[in-house]
Symmetry: C2
Amino acid sequence: MEQAIQSTKFKNETHKAGLNILYTAWWLKTSFSQALKEYGLTHEQYNVLRILKGKHPEQMCVRDIACRMIEKSSNVPRIVDRLEIKKLVKRSVSSFDKRETMIQLTAAGLLLLEVTTKKADELFDIQLCVTDEEAKLLNELLEKLRQKEV
Amino acid sequence: MEQAIQSTKFKNETHKAGLNILYTAWWLKTSFSQALKEYGLTHEQYNVLRILKGKHPEQMCVRDIACRMIEKSSNVPRIVDRLEIKKLVKRSVSSFDKRETMIQLTAAGLLLLEVTTKKADELFDIQLCVTDEEAKLLNELLEKLRQKEV
DNA sequence: TTAATTTAGATGTATATACATGTATTGGTA
DNA sequence: TACCAATACATGTATATACATCTAAATTAA
């Protein structure tokens, strides 16, 4: 990381860990986006599809999708716009509550997701060079680090 | 994290770690941006100022700034545009190589950076709840995780 | 039942990200 | 020297992020 951001002096190890997390996330997101590119999907579009898959063939409202996104400030209606243009999802007004827009995967969306999920999972397995045990420790450390979460 | 993204089942610990890193980075970036907001700076604008500080009072060319950014795909000329409008940096053509644009902190930029750096460092110290030892371990794990870096 | 408040999501704006292209300058090569 | 490739950066485009505002529908209160 020192090499990546051309910096060797950090205030302390915690400060360095903060930058390291930001850098690692960027690195991971970049490889991920790269892998999805040949399918014409962005990282965020993939995430929405993946979330929809969790309930498929049931529909989900925009709000439910949003609260499952990793980046909470994602603008889900706009991401859905793009998926709808590509016929990967279908919008409909909820009959239960007319304010809600229900989103459902199309057959094309489901198919594309299956292929890309395989690719994405492979990427995670190949790219992330930690053992199961180390990953567990990493998860614990990250949870502890974020304990002041609001 | 499971609560944050409403998901409890992951393919394996490594997969979970990947999402955990992405989520933690988002969380960190958000608190960071929040803290900078009252100074009218974005996260990225702050980063450029901080990088310039490292060489101050010397100037730096756009390329040198870019390769020190955490997010390598940052569009530095555009970020500099915004800093220049706010009179926090000054652009000039390099006399050494007329293709290069040299960037230098102004007195206002230096002052603002000093105040915001204090805030940012405080945030890191308060927000990141790990000991020095844990941070060290976290750094090692992240470096290992990224060993397939290109 | 009407009015006020809340909620869902669409839409607008500024900035950033990711990447492609354009322009000027430089350095290498015939 | 003249030409060509490479480099530095500016600029254009599509999408995303972060946040504000708007509209319609539902809920609550008067």
